[in-house]
Amino acid sequence: MERVSEIIREKGASTALIIGVFVFWELFCLMAGISDILLPRPTQIIAALIQYWPAIWPHTWQTLYTTIVGFGIGVVIGLLLGILIGSSKLAYDTAYPLLVGFSSIPKVAVVPIFVLWYGAGTVPAILTAMIICIFPIVVNVATGIATVEPELEDVMKTLKASKTDILWNVSLPRAMPYFFAALKVAITLAFVGSVVAETVASNRGIGNMMMIASSSFNVPLVFAGLFVLAGLGVTLYVLFSLIERRVTGWAHRKTDVASA
């Protein structure tokens, strides 16, 4: 019972904060008399969401699709690169400077290049989402793999374990908490990537919808787009958190210590 009330207290506080922010926003706009062209009230935004839903839905689907595909490819490439860089000192020293340089390029800047290569549309959005989420995954996975305790490595080596044995039995499981931490960062970044690409060069997706809405001064719809993005981001974040709990529960053991 104590735990239940604790959960209610924890979740209750954050829910109250979220509701509080919206109530404050609503009241502030009303009292200050702010026009909905500048800052629409939450109720207006929700009304716009409902009103335009049939039009918003395909865009939502498109953004979700490009984000997930780009994220998926990014995860695979990031994981492979992370394993490579993390398990070899030579690869680490060789590739890291390039990777850092590559990651410090603002990803918005590469969208025109993708458009040049593939034309406006879905592909640049997927590629931007992909490229933006590779780096955090590589760095995290590489860190997880490279920081295996030297004593443990010695124990494995005296067992004459091969590199693949060590990778599968020690390094990879050990890197999983790092990997999932990176996934949660990467999925939100992937949305940034796809939406930026859609805004710059696409005729579909939430980013594109928001561009069009703002050019016709339909500000509630612009904000409705933001709400949809936030909703998508939160949903996927929660999804990965749940998978993370299942896969790497051992790393978060403090929440339920069994009596030994």
């Binding site: 305790e149 004593e151 124990v155 005296t158 039995n169 050990r174 030994a260």
Partner: protein
């Protein structure tokens, strides 16, 4: 892994065959002006089934010797032979346990102990089919032997330091190694847990009769467990003294208070203090505890 030509040594005929042999083996870290010799050319023979302890001041190359035997390091000069072959090509099975138990936090104790069976031949063949039956029984039997019966389903973080170290010993022994390497395995434990584990270690050794090389800074531990104690000098390490421990087995904690044991301890201590370059005199302020 290829050691090039691995000469086969003639196995000496005697009361016990030589299992490990150091032939003027030395280790130097770094190069040129920055080179540091960690281990001076050292010769050492260890017989099969012998329990040898290496003691000495910190940084004297005790662990370096252990690592060479475990094929983790190659000598800069000289040779190291294990089971008649130069290291790198030895066909023997080795178990190793450090002070840090390094159990895998995502596996329960049973699976942690089972890890070598997944890797070391011939056990790795048929691992999938045997892990729920034969191997499980094997692990449970060994866990019971060290007093961890019923703890197979626990996770490492649910165990105390002493229990983790017992599990660590089990992991080092589950694949029936020919050689066990211990690097200060009980160093982080409290006095009573440590003494408990000495007894367990002795029982394990008496029942399995494998060759053990123990690195420790605890002289009592060395005298309690080992057949032979090698005292090493400060860096670059050399073996200053190599003497047998003439105490009957099985040894008990009570024996550690007997005159023979105390005398041996004092002799070892004096040697190490000398090796560190100290006077051996500890100034006790009058009245201080």
């Amino acid at each position: 892994m290829n050691a090039g030509i691995s000469d086969i040594r003639p196995v000496e005929t005697g009361q016990a065959s030589t299992f490990i042999e150091f032939e003027e083996a030395s280790i130097t870290y770094g190069r040129g002006a920055k080179a540091v010799q960690a281990l001076a050319p050292t010769s050492l023979k260890i017989a099969e089934g012998e329990f040898v302890a290496l003691v000495g001041p910190s940084g004297c190359g005790k662990s370096t010797i252990l690592k060479m035997v475990g094929e983790l390091l190659k000598p800069s000069t000289g040779h190291v032979f294990v089971a008649g072959r130069e290291i790198g090509a030895t066909p023997i099975r080795i178990g190793m346990a450090y002070q840090n138990p390094t159990l895998l936090p995502w596996l329960n104790i049973r699976d942690n102990v089972m890890l070598p069976l997944k890797i070391v031949p011939p056990f790795r063949q048929g691992y999938r089919s045997k892990r729920k039956g034969e191997y499980r029984d094997r692990v449970e039997a060994l866990l019971a032997q060290v007093g961890l019966a019923g703890f197979g389903d626990k996770f490492p973080w649910q165990l105390s330091g002493g229990m983790m170290q017992r599990a660590n010993l089990c992991r080092a022994l589950i694949h029936d190694p020919d050689l066990l390497l211990l690097d200060e395995p009980f160093g982080a434990l409290d006095q009573f847990t440590r003494e408990e584990l000495w007894a367990i270690m002795q029982d394990l050794w008496l029942s399995k009769k494998l060759t053990v090389l123990l690195v420790t800074h605890d002289l009592k531990e060395a005298a309690y467990l080992a057949d032979r104690i090698c005292v090493m000098s400060a860096r670059p390490g050399r073996i200053l003294d190599d003497s047998p421990v003439a105490l009957a087995r099985p040894r008990t904690i009570d024996m550690t208070f007997e005159p023979d044991f105390v005398a041996l301890n004092q002799r070892l201590r004096a040697m190490i203090v000398g090796a560190r370059g100290g006077t051996g005199i500890v100034n006790h302020a009058p009245g201080a505890a």
